[in-house]
């Protein structure tokens, strides 16, 4: 059995770890609320954007445009959203796995990373990072998403990459976060989308409408991706810290029991020795 002093030291160390994880849990709960509100406020815009794009694609199915067909280059741009801080359970590794083992495994990739953790993991796995903009995940703004999307779109326009993908974590609810890998360009048309009753007219030419709308659409998707990921990150951290705190409590309980037992047995031993000593004198 470990000595009383060892047990005591171990218990107090776990106690202070537990305090830290508890504080972190509270912090991420607050951050999660904020991130969630932001993601929810973005939802109507993102939905409207998606609907409009689909209805335009519906009408322009015969149109040929690089945004719809992709480019020849085999290289693919991937925007990978993780975060700068660790201790969020499997949050980062799940996103990284999308790249290393998912549909794009073994392809020639041009990586745009957001979040240091994901970037470092990908570098360890032997990937080259084309552009890193980790700072924006702290407080993602629409302008940040626009700048990131512009980089990827420029690469696409110059023909360096043939497709653009986005890897992020979808925030389903507080406990369920789903890592997702979606293709941004060429734009995918939803099959069997319900036909609109009203035929849509365009003021400008359809091609130029597409030319303006698609980049906005991509930006909107990147922006929602950032917001969703940010909410997921804090949700994942909250969960991880919650289970860490309860594990710590459990361990403290076990150690307290062990400590009390050790203390009792040491008292018993001392008593036995005293009594034995007294008897020897008599």
């Amino acid at each position: 059995m470990a000595s009383m002093r060892d047990i005591k030291r171990r218990r107090s160390s776990i106690q202070s770890t537990g305090q830290i994880t508890k504080a972190m849990k509270l912090v991420s709960t607050v951050k999660l609320q904020k991130a969630r509100v932001r993601a929810e406020q973005n939802a109507p815009y993102a939905d409207g954007m998606y609907r409009t794009i689909q209805s335009i694609l519906e009408r322009t199915s015969t149109l040929r445009h690089p945004y719809l067909q992709g480019k020849e280059s085999k290289r693919k741009a991937v925007i990978v959203i993780s975060s700068n801080r660790g201790l969020a359970g499997g949050y980062h590794s799940n996103v990284v796995k999308l790249i290393t083992r998912g549909a794009l495994a073994g392809e020639d990739l041009e990586l745009y990373t957001v979040g240091r953790k994901g970037k470092e993991a990908l570098q360890r796995a032997g990937y080259q990072i084309y552009l890193d903009s980790s700072d924006i995940i702290e407080e993602p703004g629409y302008a940040d998403a626009a700048a990131l999307a512009r980089e990827a779109l420029t690469s696409f326009a110059q023909g360096r990459v043939g497709e653009i993908w986005l890897a992020y974590t979808f925030f389903k609810n507080t406990v369920v976060h789903e890592p997702r890998l979606i293709r941004l360009l060429p734009v995918e048309k939803e099959e069997g989308a319900d036909k609109k009753e009203l035929p849509m007219n365009f003021d400008a030419e359809e091609e130029s409408v597409l030319e303006t709308l698609i980049p906005t659409y991509i930006t909107s998707l990147v922006y929602s991706g950032l917001l969703e990921s940010s909410a997921s990150e804090n949700g994942a951290r909250m969960q991880a810290m919650d289970s860490a705190t309860s594990n710590a409590e459990e361990m403290i309980e076990d150690l307290t029991l062990l400590y009390n037992r050790a203390r009792q047995s040491s008292i018993t031993q001392e008593l036995t020795e005293i009594i034995a000593g007294a008897q020897a004198i008599d």
Partner: protein, 134 residues
């Protein structure tokens, strides 16, 4: 609804739902020029250019600065998806003036590395803000 002589207007930006309500008429700037929409308009999708949005509501007029995006017009509703929108009270006039000057200098100098389209949009944006405040 169209019968009542009003049209449902929804203005969405990535950050928030900017406005939701009825209006008798909506006017805004598009890539093809200024556009005024009354209830019962034919279905149409237009590209927005930075400019002033004027909503004629039952109690009078509402104005706001509207930046790039697009609008989906249906007989009984308008959905405006803008990258940004601001009420007059939210506009910082000093910043808008500064942005206007910066954009004007960029356009005037016209260096090889300036993105003219972006500079022009920036100028239009600043002008829209200043215009809204007047």
């Amino acid at each position: 609804m169209a019968e009542k002589g009003t049209i449902q207007v929804r203005i969405l930006t990535p950050e928030r739902v900017f406005y939701e309500g009825e209006a008798k008429m909506a006017e805004f700037n598009t890539s093809e020029g200024e556009l005024g929409i009354y209830p019962g308009h034919i279905p149409m999708t237009v590209i927005l250019k930075p400019g002033v949005l004027t909503l004629t509501v039952l109690e009078g007029k509402k104005e706001a600065a509207l930046h790039t995006g697009f609008a989906e017009i249906l007989p009984d509703s308008i959905s405006i998806l803008a990258e940004a929108a601001e009420w007059p009270g939210e506009i910082d006039i000093a910043r808008a003036e500064a942005a206007k000057e910066r954009a004007e200098i960029r356009i005037r100098e016209h260096r090889a590395d300036t993105d003219m389209a972006r500079a022009q949009t920036a100028l239009l944006r600043a002008l829209a803000r200043i215009e809204t405040l007047r």
